[in-house]
Amino acid sequence: MSALGKVVRSGVGRRRVQTLVMALTTFTAVLSSVLSLGLLTAVQAPFEHAFTTRDGAHLAVQFDGSKVTAVQTTATAHVAGVTEAAGPYPIAAALDTTVGTDCPKTDWAGHDNHPITVTTRPDLGSTSGMDQLVLTQGRWPTSPGEIALPANNYADACFGSSVVFSSLPGKPSFKVVGFADSVTNSATGFATADGFARLTTAGATTDEQMLYRFARAGTDADIATDKQAVAAAVPAGAVEDGQSYLTAEQQATGNAKAFVPFLIAFGILGLVLSVLIIAIVVSGAVASGIRRIGILKSLGFTPSQVARAYTAQAMIPATLGVVLGTVFGNLAAGPILNGASEQLGAASATIPFWVSAVVSLGTLLIVGVTASIPALRAGRMPAVQALVVSRAPKAGRGQTAQRLASRLPLPRAMSLGLAQPFARPARAVLVGAAVLLGTVSVTFAVGLGTAFSKYQATTMSSGFNVASDIVIPTADVGAPWGLYGPNDPRHAYLDATKVAAALAKVPGTKAAFGWGDSGATLVGAPIGGEPPVLYTVSGDFSWTNMQLLSGRWYSAPGEAVVGDKLASAVGIRVGDDVTVVQQNKQVSLKVVGINFDTHGSDYTAMTDAATFTAAGLTPRIDQFNVELASNANGTDWSTAATAALTPLNASVQSNSSDTNLLVIIMGTLVAMFTLMLTVVAALGVLSMVVQDTRERVHDLGIFKALGMTPRQTVAMVLTSVALTGLIAGLVGVPLGVVVEKATQAPMGHAIGRHLPPSVTHVYTAGLLLPLLAAGVVIALLGALLPAGWAARSRTATALRAE
């Protein structure tokens, strides 16, 4: 081993705690950076790549063919802001379908299938122009009886069998010859012109679709403005609806992007903490090694060798942290990507290599620069100065503080400790900064964790998911959920009126409401993603904590409340009208409110069952949720209810609330990062106090000789960081709140939701007050060990040295 190597190795070996801290902090920073950047690129890149190479449309607009001429629609290509346009293409939106009975898999044959939006284009397989469609299996349709669909809109096992447009008179049927899709889900069924004509003949309402790219299309607001410009160019009411590529992007990236904002926050906190810790440790090593540096130089080490020796003391543990952080970041990404984004294939559930490379090299560079600043200073220090410079701090700065502290009505050991930071203000600032970052992390994480559990509680156990006794059709007991779709004749429903009346008579019933998927489609709902659901509801659900974000609950037939995710995706506001279609019959609903959707589907709306009855349609109710009176006995109630409901083919079950795996993964990650950052912050304090104790060994010897007990020594050392910790805590808490608020909005946006105040308002006084103590706690935890060492240190010999 070279002489330099020996110096480095003994340096690393003598500072085990500091070495561990440096490895841990870089590990934290790299892990969260690799994960955040990796998730962002892994979920975003495939969509962005496809969107670019396939020349995806920013916006697809459906025009009501009866209100515009072909000339008018074509002319919208020249509206200001439009850079490219295609169409018009005929389109028939949201047609109910079933899997044909010719499917060999009986699990699927005859079952409800996704609603499908069919279009035709002159050249379906075109590899030029806008919105190029891509075939993933099979071939394009060549005859009127054939169709191609996206793979996730039809049962895989039935490929080659037929799809039936079940709500159209005559139920036209097509053979599925290909799986194909549009990157922005501009349509979900592709037929030949003759094939499309079969749907028109069968009575499907058809529109004209235009596809656009715009000069400005980065945000929802841009797209809304662009859509407005297009709508202004045609007669009023001609624009039926439009699909933004941002909705398709949200559908494609799923919820994985929700991880990104808080991972970025942790990445930044971790990196700042790394820089701080490395600065603390290396400059500390230089400061306490000044004599050593002098000796090294007198032995013939060059300045650059000395500088390298000190830089290497930080680089070795940092490299270890970087390597481990990168490895674990890549390992952790797999499960997160798989759990968060169903749309992504297994192939893309890995982090691109360049992310690991950029993060590791970047971190090493930052660490290297941080370490080399004090190291270069050490290298340039003249040997003589290094040998003669005294380690004792300059008296003077500490004197005023000691004088003031001695006046406080505190035990002497504590007032002595209280004044210590003032003797070395720079060191106190570093301790404070470490505690501050720790406090910010804790505050941020506690807020985030609280928001997660509130989100979990709200979405998983309120509204339709409320924990309660439920009543379902006896036929559904034990049957897999969703076995038959809402329009499947085999789907069992409850006789809502009779069940409600029977429940009302059972003693102990306080409130009950029935609900079910009406099977209606929503005109203008996003074409891709999960099929939208309109629930018909009957009865009082005010006890289920379902939350309204704006407007009011419906109060009359014809009124509806729309879920926030659907409202954001389509741009529905209170006061708008939406059209729903059931059994090929259109019903117009007035939107009177937007609710925080907890129903479990992406795009939902709800209306009173009376709306359907008034329109001559049958509301479909297949579950009642029952609230029992507080004094009711559950078993007695069940017995009585079962007796009353059995004749109605209804059964009593209990609804257990579910958990959201994604939120649990997030919570675990947050807890893990918080723990690591807090530990690193406390270890930062520890290494500063160790350094301080080492330099104060002489004073500690004097105190000991004067009769200071170990307990008093511990009290003195702990007090020396308490004030710094308290101040850092007081500053850190508001900063942590700011960081939490800053990540909440993008996280909500990433999952396409508007979060209600009941979820976002997390910092109650009961939470903030204990958090204010976090700084002191971190500081004391960090100082506890060295305080114990100081109390036990053998100081007899230290008294001789001056």
């Binding site: 004197q399 000789a705 004067l706 009769g707 200071m708 007990t709 170990p710």
Partner: protein, 241 residues
């Protein structure tokens, strides 16, 4: 004055990890009110012996009893309380706390022992007055001369009225006039009944201050003689025989 010795060191041995023992079977008995000087070359174990008596260090074997207390058997907290109550120490390099004023330095031992601030201050001012340095109470130690600093250290050592004053080369860093100053101070204290153990290189100082001189060679007592020369305590020493 009791018959039991104030200090009773029996077969005390101190070994560090490497090299020969710093102390090898030392026996020492010091009566209350006595002033004993310990002489010896550098490295002969003088400070080690003093530290054992102060409870700052523990013997590898043997026993150390001070004022009836087995000092070698005390725990960390116990030995701190023992030092507080029974021991005052002064050193070659004074070991004053640079951040504290003279007054605060002197008050520390009493405050650590739990004495109220007002009372501690009164006693400190009184002590500093009796040592003739009351005008420096507000000053910081670094502004004082070596002799003055050592006076402050003595005041601090006496703050809790210790049974025993241990001085490790108290004149080692002083010029000759200050040496004389400190010598007189120790003589006066002893004359008032203060038991003193004085470690020094200075044969002259030992002879003129102490009743008894012990010489350590390689960690063992080589000589133990009663001073026959001058020294205020001489008469008292002879009287006790």
């Amino acid at each position: 004055m009791t018959n039991a010795p104030m200090i009773d060191v029996r077969e005390a041995t101190k070994k560090y990890d490497d090299g020969p023992p710093a102390l090898a079977g030392v026996n020492l008995s010091v009566a209350s009110g006595d002033c004993v000087a310990i002489l010896g070359h550098s490295g002969s174990g003088k400070s080690t012996l003093l530290n054992l008596i102060a409870g700052l260090d523990k013997p590898s074997s043997g026993s150390v009893t001070v004022d009836g207390t087995r000092v070698d058997q005390l725990g960390e907290a116990g030995s701190a309380k023992y030092r507080r109550a029974s021991i005052g120490m002064i050193f070659q390099f004074f070991n004053l706390l640079d951040d504290l004023t003279v007054l605060d330095n002197v008050m520390v031992p009493a405050q650590l022992a739990g004495m109220g601030k007002g009372e501690a201050k009164r006693r400190a001012v009184e002590l500093l007055g009796s040592l003739g340095i009351e005008r420096h109470v507000k000053a910081y130690p670094q502004r004082l001369s070596g002799g003055e600093r050592q006076r402050v250290a003595v005041a601090r050592a006496l703050m809790n009225k210790p049974a025993l004053l241990l001085a490790d080369e108290p004149t080692g860093a002083l010029d000759s006039s200050s040496v004389e100053d400190v010598r007189r101070l120790l003589l006066d204290l002893n004359a008032e009944g203060q038991t003193i153990v004085l470690v020094t290189h200075d044969v002259q100082l030992a002879a003129t201050t102490a009743h008894r001189t012990i010489e350590l060679v390689d960690g063992a007592v080589a000589r133990d003689v009663v001073n026959s020369g001058s020294g205020a305590g001489l008469a008292a020493a002879q009287a006790r025989r």
